[in-house]
Amino acid sequence: MVKTRKNVWELGGDWADPILWYARGVKAMQSRPLSDPTAWRFYGAIHGIDRRLWTQLGFLSSGNQLPPNDTIKTYWQQCQHGSWYFLPWHRGYVLAFEAVVRDAVVKLGGPADWAIPYWNYFKPNQNQLPPAFASPDWPDGQGDNPLFVAQRFGPNNDGNVFVPMDQVDQNALGDSQFIGASDGGSPGFGGVNTGFRHGGNVHGGVETQPHDMVHGLVGGGDPNTGLPGLMSDPDTAGLDPIFWLHHANIDRLWEVWNEMPGSTGDPEQPNWVKGPASIGQRAFILPMPGRNFTYTPGQMQNLSTLGYNYDDVSPPSGLPQMVARLQRFGVSVADSVTRSAAMAGPKSAELMGASGSLRVSGTEARASVPLDAAVQFSVTRSLRSAATAANPAPDRVFLNLENVRGLNDATAFSVYINVPDGDDPAKHPELKAGNIALFGVRKATEADAQHAGDGLTFVLEITDVIDKLHLDGALNANQLHVRLVPRLPVPDAAQISIGRISVYRQSP
């Protein structure tokens, strides 16, 4: 029986049956002890757990019996971030969770084809948190709605949870390649080639946007205690019921990407297809009712094989990225030409320039990024040739925020290029490089943990901004001026720092 995951805002009511049954299933899971592999908190710990943070937030106490160590080592702390396994691991995670909820739903007399809804915050008027998650009450007015979470503070840390549309984008869908690299160029749609990585340094395109940003915007932080909202930190995110609807949407976007005309498809490298167990690392393994679910990325590629689908995988309207870009230069190129260029795959990236280190606090931070004249000339030459249609694939340009360290995962900021002094950056959307949320930065800052304290590196494609500067004749300066505008003022205590801001060119 194929189950269909549907848009949570289009189910026919705030408490339509799929949501009501979801709440009942969540309630059943939450009633189970932490040591039960199908318990709510056990599933949260599979994504990540920080015992100190869990205790501070009230999800762990000295009276809780932990599972045996072997069980913990097998299942917990498994989520894949900053990795090309990000999408397939989370597909399996949502799939297994859905099966656990469905099992509870069926035992409660619910439908055997229950499927997790998804939250598509990009659709008009659907960026508000679905109402069933925002109310502490069940529809009958009883006050223990399991979908409600007190530690969900929203983008303004005031409890009003929504996704501001100027903070998120689906630009990653325009990247034709699934795999990227951590060399300063595109991190790809799906991420960079890694082994099992419970928190890698460079996040892939769809992981950065919208995934990371929605985590930070929904979770926010407690303005009184400074503690993160559940969704803001990978070690607590799985404890929030909205997590699963967000990840169903990310999973849906993977399917949308595969339907995009420029997409070059999922990786075929054995290390991706066969997963980390094939290279001597942990297997992807999740507890299911009565059995284990062990899977590889290769097994996660085909939705019909997995027994579910989405009610909508239509790509966003608009021209393919490369065609739109060439039109900007006044060139009309056959789609087959651009597709052929995309299939060839990008070359290695080359550094154009870089700033020094930078501290981010308060309401704004600025940096100048000096550019190397010779590399800058190469980019300009590439852009000039684009206007002649002799070059169907001009250089792409990427801004890297390297070695971003800090203590507050809920920190989010917008990045602008060359906004004139004295101007409000918000009035220059054409100069916006993108938005970044520091999902995972706290753990990445710990010296003796899995990142060795290097922090995270974020990659924003600034090709559109560079094109505009070029067409405006403003790309001749020997440096770029970068302005970082935090969504909310960054306290000094967050200790947010950036190792350097660099610019890379990449020839497609």
Binding site: S278, G307, A354, E402, A452, D454
Partner: protein
Amino acid sequence: MTQGRRGLDGWLVVLATASLLAWSALAFGGSILMLPALCSANAWPVMPLSASFDSALVFNAPARLAWGWALMLAAMMLPLVVAPLRHVRERSFARRRTRAMLLFVLGYLAVWMAAGMVLQVAAVVALWTVPLPLTWFAVALAVAMLWQVSPAKQWCLNRCHRKPALAAFEPAADHDAFRFGLANGAACAGACWALMLLMLLAGKGQFPAMIAIMLFLLAERLEGPAPLAWQWRGGAKAIRLVAARLRIRTGSLNPMAEVSP
């Protein structure tokens, strides 16, 4: 399909060639390090116990020690710096890549050369003072095992994996590349000193010990950073890797099997 964009880089070929040449020099060039000379005259473990420290230095002249140690570093350690060298390369201007990588290697080797002098002098003095090579080998083995399971070793290994931000423009870029080499070399020497001391005290088994230790260090470096703890480390991932390949080959692990969640 997506295939990514990483191919075989020229600099990796250079690195591998340098390492192989050093191995060849060690294998066919006669003596490796001069400690065997101290213990030599004929048969291990019998040695001139009454030899003076002066004669030990004659057999182990600093220049010879340094040359032998440098060859050994090139052979054993260059494969360990692939990841930090890739970082230096990717974070440098194309025109500066070779220079930055050489500066990193210079810093890295400078630390190791200094550490090597200390380790060799320690070994020479130990054998000169108490000429019981087998006993010293056993002591070094015990020290290496203790260091291997200690949180201090993990502290060093974690720092071997660091990839700091590097300045792009000269002269800061030169300074950063060299300093990164120093830091990485210090972390590497901290992680590996006990095994290298063990190798120095391995007598006639020095060459096979070098091979075994290099393979172990490579396997150990496959593991990522980890929290500090008393535990055995190194080799597990390499063993799992080989086992997984064998299971795939024999069909007991079929990654494309049907899945039904």
